[in-house]
């Protein structure tokens, strides 16, 4: 069969693959959000700005210090994660006993400030960041031309997601984390330093966003609003997957990337809306999300 719904099959396969690649970004970002929400009960609206900072730090490392992509992949998440730790210690920790709304206001305000600062300094059209030479070039898959770098993004994102999931579900540290999510005072009574664990979890969630930012730097324009466009979609992904569900957010991220990719072929005008339509349907049918527990 050459065509499916009037679309040539090779083109459709290509779109599925591209959707999967975009889904990799959604998955990585929503994973960080889900981890933070699960433990801190904070809806981290700064996530988009932190994704943007990850890309910018990679650019700064290259342009000011001559440090290339591979080191940036390690250093940028560490540096941005550190700012997350400072943020949590100085501001977010004041809000745990208050309503969700305050956390949202604080993190949303912070993201506006961060974007404004970067825009003032670097403008809005963005900075060039080249694909590392080891990953440039492309494979001819027959049905499409696949850049090596995009393949790397999918593989690396999958690796990061699986690692995070394993740490949370299969290690002792992860067990503490999950226990603290259920009943923090009890875990603290057993001698675990819960506040420090919370701080480090926030830092790790932020580092994941920054890691996604570094991955995005060579393919998207590195500009201050690069996170804004993505973050709203990512929130929808988290809501559809089920707030706080790690596996749910990863699977939904990849899944919705594919749905969006297909929409871009059949009706591109709706490609920015389709995820929200799904969100509405899921919320009506399963208010806790696809993988959430009511």
């Amino acid at each position: 069969m050459d065509e499916i719904f009037g679309i040539p099959t090779p083109l459709l396969f290509g779109q599925l693959l591209l959707g999967l690649i975009n889904g990799a970004f959604y998955a990585m970002l929503s994973l960080g959000l889900a981890v933070i929400f699960g433990l801190l009960n904070i809806i981290n609206f700064t996530h988009g700005a932190q994704f943007m900072m990850g890309a910018f730090v990679a650019w700064m490392l290259l342009n000011y210090l001559g440090i290339g992509y591979w080191w940036a992949l390690i250093l940028s998440p560490l540096l941005v994660g550190l700012t997350g730790v400072i943020l949590e210690r100085t501001m977010i920790c004041q809000l745990y006993k208050m309503d969700h709304l305050y956390g949202m206001l604080l993190t949303f305000g912070l993201s506006l400030i961060l974007e404004g600062v970067f825009r003032n300094q670097y403008g809005s059209s963005g900075m060039p960041y080249r694909i590392p030479p080891e990953l440039s070039g492309a494979w001819d898959l027959g049905f499409m031309f696949m850049p090596v770098y995009r393949g790397w993004v999918v593989v690396f994102a999958l690796f990061a997601c699986i690692t995070t999931w394993l740490v949370i579900e299969k290690t002792r540290l992860g067990a503490y984390l999950r226990a603290a999510t259920e009943n923090a005072p009890l875990v603290q009574a057993f001698g675990v330093n819960v506040p420090r664990m919370i701080t480090l979890t926030y830092g790790a969630g932020v580092a994941l966003a920054a890691l996604a930012g570094v991955l995005a730097a060579p393919i998207y324009s590195v500009n201050p609003q690069m996170g804004t466009n993505l973050i709203i979609v990512v929130f929808a992904v988290v809501v559809i997957g089920g707030m706080g569900s790690i596996l749910g957010s990863v699977l939904t991220g990849f899944g919705l990337g594919i749905v969006e990719g297909l929409t871009k072929v059949f009706y591109p005008e709706a490609s920015a809306t389709v995820i929200f339509i799904i969100m509405v349907i899921v919320l009506l049918a399963r208010p806790a999300g696809l993988f959430g527990r009511a």
């Binding site: 040539p8 090779p10 083109l11 290509g14 779109q15 591209l18 959707g19 690649i21 975009n22 404004g116 825009r119 403008g123 809005s124 059209s125 963005g126 900075m127 060039p128 080249r130 694909i131 492309a138 499409m144 031309f145 850049p147 770098y149 995009r150 060579p218 393919i219 998207y220 324009s221 500009n223 609003q225 690069m226 466009n229 993505l230 990719g261 871009k264 072929v265 591109p268 005008e269 709706a270 490609s271 920015a272 809306t273």
Partner: protein, 411 residues
């Protein structure tokens, strides 16, 4: 001497009148002798670097160079966030509060909406930022002047050159709003008239799209020789960047940047942007006059060089102020149409665009230049980016008035 309550009150009133009355009267006289210009543009979104704070500074430079000719000039600025509702509200408020002219207004959907307000309030409106050729076509008004560029001129220059070079089949990647539609329509007309074919198009949601790979793959599957990017700013940057990543240009498909500005090329870097063909009506390194004005703007713009959209604010403000000086401030406050008519009657001349004129339909005429982006080895440094390929004279650069369907012209 007895002091009555009445004399105290009377004295206080007299003092008050003496102290407060004079400045009050002079403040009113001053307001009547002040021209207020509102620069409305994108200060925080995807089009910020094209004009935004730089466009504002260029307009300020014009006020400074114009000097004091018996009236004051006041300039205010706001961010319309590329949203027609916000832009319309600000423009309405400004006009009601005594702003005489609204300037800039990029983003065609906002630019068209503000044109209606200017007409309704009978004020002056000089659009330098929007691209849609409808501003001097079906949506033309006696209160609008459209400066420096539009979709027809871009389509004719870039589209025409691409078709002549053998690019006779096209696929469009179009931003799904007024500007993208106008640019796609105008270019497609040129392609068809030159005997070319349009193989297809995708319209993507603006401004919520960052990944264009899906559209690029669709464009490639259509086997078109040219991919026309009917978008601007960060969207064009992302499209070009991703087209390079997918090896589209290496396979012989040409990219046509239907609207691209100097800051976009700067953001892409020459490595990625080299070889792109684009059209602007201004380049800082074009001749002695453009170099002179760019040099004068340097303290205001710091390291950034002006492009046709930002410097159009300089040119337009200068010409507007000349018209005001010519007709007198009091006469200019009566009706916006009178000011626009005076602007049309006076010849334009400035360092940015040289000599020119404004047509009855509101179109400012100037030559358009077809440029090719230099390779990194050809560039002498930052902002040395363009090679001039071809010049279209002012009379031929824009759509003839007879084809524009402007109601003012038919009547």
């Amino acid at each position: 001497m007895t002091t009555t309550r009445r004399s105290v009150l009377g004295g206080a009133a007299a003092c008050g009148a003496a102290l407060g009355g004079l400045p009050w009267r002079s403040a009113r006289a001053q307001a009547a002798n002040t021209i207020r210009i509102g620069v409305l543009n994108d200060m925080s979104g995807p089009y910020r670097d094209i004009s935004g704070p730089y466009g504002l500074e260029c307009a300020r430079q014009a006020v400074q160079e114009f000097g004091n000719r018996g009236f004051n000039v006041e300039m205010i600025n706001a961010d319309h966030q590329n949203r027609p509702d916000i832009g319309v509200n600000i423009a309405r408020q400004w006009y009601d509060q005594g702003v005489d002219m609204v300037l800039d207004v990029p983003t065609s959907s906002v630019g068209l909406a503000v044109a209606n307000i200017a007409r309704e309030k009978n004020k002056a409106y000089v659009n330098t930022g929007s691209a849609t050729s409808d501003l001097t076509g079906p949506a033309c008004t006696p209160n609008t002047v459209h400066w420096m560029y539009d979709t027809y001129m871009l389509a004719k220059s870039t589209g025409g050159a691409m078709v002549r070079a053998g690019g006779d089949s096209w696929f469009f990647i179009t931003a799904d709003y007024a500007f993208g539609h106008a640019l796609e329509r105008d270019t497609a007309n040129f392609v068809r008239n030159a005997g070319g074919r349009v193989m297809g198009q995708v319209r993507y949601p603006f401004p919520a799209t960052t990944d264009f790979s899906s559209f690029l793959v669709q464009a490639q599957a259509s086997r078109a020789k040219v991919i026309g990017m009917a978008n601007a700013g960060a969207d064009t940057i992302n499209t070009v960047k991703q087209a390079a990543e997918f090896g589209i240009t290496r396979r012989g498909v040409k990219l046509a940047a239907l609207l691209m500005f100097l800051p976009d090329v700067h953001a892409l870097g020459l490595q990625t942007a080299q070889g792109l063909i684009l059209t602007e009506s201004f380049y800082w390194d074009l001749n002695d006059r453009t170099r002179a004005i760019s040099e004068r703007l340097r303290p205001r713009l710091r390291d950034v060089r002006p492009n046709m959209a930002s410097i159009a604010n300089y040119s337009a403000t200068l010409h507007y102020l000349k018209a005001i000086a010519d007709m007198g401030v009091a006469a200019s406050k009566v009706a916006g149409v009178d000011v626009i008519n005076r602007m049309k009657a006076l010849p334009c001349d400035d360092d940015a665009f040289g000599a020119g004129s404004i047509r009855p339909d509101g179109r400012k005429l100037c030559p358009s230049y077809l440029f090719e982006v230099k390779a990194p080895s050809e560039s002498r440094g930052a902002y040395d980016y363009y090679k001039l390929l071809q010049t279209t004279p002012a009379e031929e650069a824009f759509r003839p008035m007879s084809e524009g369907n402007c109601p003012m012209i038919r009547a």
